[in-house]
Each structure stands twice: as C-alpha cells, then as structure tokens.
C-alpha cells in the first residue's frame, strides 16, 4: 500500500510550515543546515536519512524542543502559517502548544490514562470536568485507543502495552488540538502489528493535522507519507512527493540511500 502515490503537492493550507535557511549548532559545531523547505499542511511529511544526518535535529527545531538541549543554537527562520516561531516576542511554550511532539520511546506520565490525556488541557487552564471528559474521549478516539481503554481510564497508563502507550502519547498530544504533530521514530520500538496500527493512525491524522515524521524505516516512509525529505550529513539533499523520491529520485545520493547502497 502506498498512501503517497496519488497525492500532488497541495496549495498552502492551515498548518503548513515554511523553513528558511535553518541551521542548528551544538556549541560551535554545526549539526544541520542551512535548510529551506516547505512542509505542506494537512499532509504527512517523512524525514529519512542515515543516523546522524540531522533529521531529528531538524524535527526538534520545528517546535523549539532543541532549546532544552544545553548549547544548542538555531539560525534561520521557521514559520507556521506565516507566523515566525523563532520571533523574539514568541514564547516557545506557546509554539509547543500549536506544534506537538511524539517521541521514539513512549513516555506516558506515571499517572492514570485519563490524567495523561488531561495533562496538556489542565496546564492550558481547562479544568471543567465535562469539557475535559469530552476532549479526552475525542483525543483517545482520534488515536484509535478509546475502545481499548474506555473502561479503565482511571488505571495507570504504565499498565498499557507498548503500542497502546505510544498511542496514548499521540492522544495526549492531540488533546491540546495542535496544528502540527511531530513524530520522532514513533514506531521504532514497537512490534509489527503495533507499528501497523500507528501507521494507519498517522495516515488518518493527516486529515486534520500536519504530520512530520522521522523514520529509519524506508518502507514506512513510503507507506505513510505524502512527501519525503532525504537528509544526509546535515543537509537536505532532496525533498519531493514520496512516489517521486522512491521511484525516480533526481539526486544520485538519494537513489543510493533508498536502494540500500549505504546507510
């Protein structure tokens, strides 16, 4: 199945990201960039490339999570729907409310399933029980987890399976209704069945959210994404429709990578 094959590059929609001359440094060492890229809204964009190529660094710079790494410095510009996220008057916390993130290792809080999903809402000031209940149910449904957990919402999230925990983390990110969801190898620690469910979910999410996913698994990129960006040695080598990248890439480097000649 190739979800990306029939898609064309869509015009700018709500939730699109424009990246201009973005470079990231760790101390004095340049880790990535400069990168220019337009990530379309309401679609899935996959970032692929060998380890250390800068794709995770790039992902983290899209919602300013890299600021939590000491010594990390960013140059250039990222805009969400034409609003700069690195502006001097822009709060990183506000950026992360609009651009959520799901991590490689599922990281639920040691709280109940309910409280995990409620977390982002509560810190955003939502405390009304019925509103919380409704939004938690919706988020869990969007994450395809509701039917499995609706009778045990108040049990610990740590009692869920690995795949369920990861979907809970996705639900938690969806609950605050962001525009963009960033995913850093969200299925790499899961078994094939759980991985398939996450992939299905990612495809489903693209109806309402912009999804950017880092993956090591090229079949996964081909299956779930509309667009694919290939990173190598800190540079963006090629960015195009997924079917183009995987069938007739323009750069020899890309072809070498997707055919498995290195990386």
């Amino acid at each position: 199945m190739n979800y990306g094959a029939a898609q064309v590059i869509a015009p700018a929609q709500s939730g699109h990201l424009s990246v201009t001359q973005l470079s990231v440094y760790y101390g004095d060492k340049k880790a990535m960039g400069p990168v220019d890229m337009h990530i379309p809204g309401r679609q899935v964009t996959a970032l692929i490339g060998p380890s250390g190529c800068g794709k995770s660094t790039f992902l983290r710079s899209l919602n300013r999570m890299n600021e939590l790494i000491p010594g990390c410095r960013v140059e250039g510009e990222v805009k969400l729907d034409d609003e700069p996220i690195y502006g001097s008057n822009v709060d990183a916390v506000a950026v992360r409310r609009r651009i959520g993130m799901v991590f490689q290792k599922s990281n639920p809080f040691p709280k109940s399933i309910y409280e995990n999903v409620a977390y982002g809402l509560r810190i955003g000031g939502v405390n009304d029980r019925s509103e919380l209940g409704g939004r938690i149910e919706r988020a869990l449904e969007q994450a395809a987890l509701w039917d499995e957990v609706k009778d045990r919402l108040h049990e610990s999230a740590l009692g869920l399976s690995g795949g369920q925990q990861q979907r809970l983390c996705i639900a938690r990110a969806l609950a605050v209704e962001p525009d963009v969801i960033l995913m850093d190898e969200p299925a790499s620690a899961l078994d094939p069945i759980a991985t398939a469910r996450i992939e299905e979910l990612i495809h489903e999410l693209a109806r309402s959210y912009t999804v950017v996913i880092v993956t090591h698994n090229m079949q996964q990129a081909a299956r779930v994404s509309h667009h694919t960006a290939f990173f190598f040695m800190g540079d963006l080598v090629e960015f195009d429709r997924t079917d183009v990248i995987f069938t007739k890439p323009r750069r020899p480097k890309t072809e070498d990578y997707i055919t498995g000649r290195f990386g």
């Binding site: 999570m65 992360r96 959520g100 290792k105 810190i123 990110a173």
Partner: protein, 283 residues
C-alpha cells in the same frame, strides 16, 4: 556487617533489659519528680516530638526549594550554583555544637531580641532560648540532608517525561510542580526520614537554644523552653545528685528515645512505600 549487627544487638538488648521494668504508663504520662529520681518523662517526649515536627516544617520546604533551584533551574556551571553547593556540603560537615552556638547568636540573640524590640517593647519574649529557636537551629543542621536527598530524587526522574511535558506546552515551573516533584516524593520523604532521625537524636544544637534542664509543665507556645529526651538522658546521667537512683530512669528514657526514633522512621517508611506503590514505579 556482622559486627555492626552485634553492636546494635548488644545496645538494644542492654537498653531493653534494663529499661523495660520502669516503662510504665505513669512513666510516659507524668513529669519528673523528687529531683528526677521518680516520676516520668512526658515533658521530654512532648518536647522532642514538638521540636522535630517544627524542624521538619521548617527544613523540608526550604530544603526542597533549594534542591529544585539547584537541580532544575540553576546552570550547573554558574559561580553562584557552585558557591551554594560548596555551602551545602560545608554545612553538612560543621560540628553540631557549632550549630548550637550559631543558633544562640543568630536566632536567640539577633532574631529573637529583634522581634522583642519591635513587637514587645523590649520585654523578653522571644529573646531567650525557646522551642522555636531550637527547632530552627536543628532545621539548619538537617537542611543538607534534605537538599541532597531531594536532588537525588529529582535526578532520578527520567528526562523522557520532562520532554513529554515540555512538548505539551508546559512551562518549566508546570513541569516541575506537576510531573517532576510528584515523582520525587518518595525520595524526598527518604530525606525527611533521615532528617527526622538526626533531629530527634541530636542534643548539642539545642543546648543553648531551647532545651531546659527541668520543666514541670509542657511547652505551650513557640517561645517556651522545652525538655528533650536526648538532653534529659545527659541530665540524668551526669547532672543528678544521685546517679544510682536515676539509673533505672535513665535506661527507660533511652528506651523511649530509641522507640520514638524507630517509630518516626517506620511511619515515614510506610508513607514512602505507599507513595511508591501509587506511582507504580521503583524510583
């Protein structure tokens, strides 16, 4: 290992064997009488508990706040951070009698007299050794214990959940209060246990700051003096005109002091393991 166990057993057996005979309800519920050769130790029990509780109330928030600042906010390489750390470590190495003198000089003479001058027109209310000052002095002594234990507990909270919280749009403060501290509670309680055991047993810091040789009544206010078990043991052993007559009382007092410390520890351990189970982790 075995040697430690043997020493502990010898002490406990000796204390229990000699102390248990006088350990009656009267002993626990009456004040000392007849030049401390008869009666009980109720004022000392109440004084010790009151002092330890006050000390914990003072030391725990201050220690936790310091540890949170050091671990969650301060840059690890900043000069101020290093100075604070050096200060904490040195605080832990200061002999306890020095804390007593510090308490006398700072709390009693300076803070106490200051309060008297401002609020009581110079009358001696707080400007003398008192329960409050003894508890605060002991709190300073136990502060490093709380800080170190809390810092370790904070360090044990995984980076993953901090990132998860940040990625959901939480401020650093929200992350600390809602995610990090709840997970650190068992570790913080461990620090509190250690502080309480230390505070219940130390005598030197309260010698000049609040402990009384003999009081027929219980402390009623923060500015009252109080009797304390450890100090009472010292008094019975060395200050009595008739040491032979006080020896059985002495054993029983030691037994009560040991029992109290064990009980405080045990209750804190129970609370801690309950919290751990609630968190569902082995932090």
């Amino acid at each position: 290992m075995l040697l430690v166990l043997a020493v502990l057993l010898v002490i406990v057996i000796d204390v229990v064997r000699n102390g248990v005979s006088r350990l009656t309800l009267d002993f626990l519920s009456k004040g000392p009488s007849e030049g401390m050769t008869a009666g009980g130790i109720l004022p000392a029990i109440v004084g010790t508990v009151a002092m330890v509780v006050l000390m914990t109330v003072a030391a725990l928030p201050a220690g936790v706040a310091t540890a949170v600042y050091l671990h969650e906010y301060a840059s690890p390489t900043a000069v101020t951070t290093r100075i604070i750390r050096v200060a904490v470590n040195n605080l832990a190495g200061v002999p306890s009698i020095v804390f007593g003198l510090f308490g006398l000089g700072f709390f009693v003479q300076f803070a106490g007299r200051g309060i008297d001058k401002v609020f009581f027109g110079g009358a001696k209310v707080y400007g003398q050794p008192a329960l409050l000052w003894a508890a605060l002095t002991m709190a300073v002594l136990t502060l490093p214990v709380v800080i170190v234990a809390t810092e370790e507990a904070l360090a044990a909270v995984s980076r993953d959940v901090r990132l998860a919280s940040a990625a959901l749009g939480a401020t650093r403060f929200q992350t600390v209060v809602r995610v990090v501290l709840p997970q650190a509670v068992p570790g913080i309680l461990t620090g509190a246990i250690l502080a309480v055991s230390r505070g219940a047993g130390e005598v030197a810091p309260i010698l000049f700051t609040g402990a009384a040789y003999f009081l027929p009544t219980l402390p009623h206010a923060l500015h009252d003096q109080f009797m304390q078990l450890g100090y009472h043991v010292y008094v019975l052993a060395t200050q009595s005109p008739d040491v032979d007559a006080t020896r059985p009382l002495l054993y029983s007092t030691v037994l009560v002091l040991l029992g109290l410390t064990f009980a405080l520890n045990a209750s804190a351990i129970v609370v801690r393991s309950r919290m751990r189970r609630k968190l569902g982790s082995h932090a």
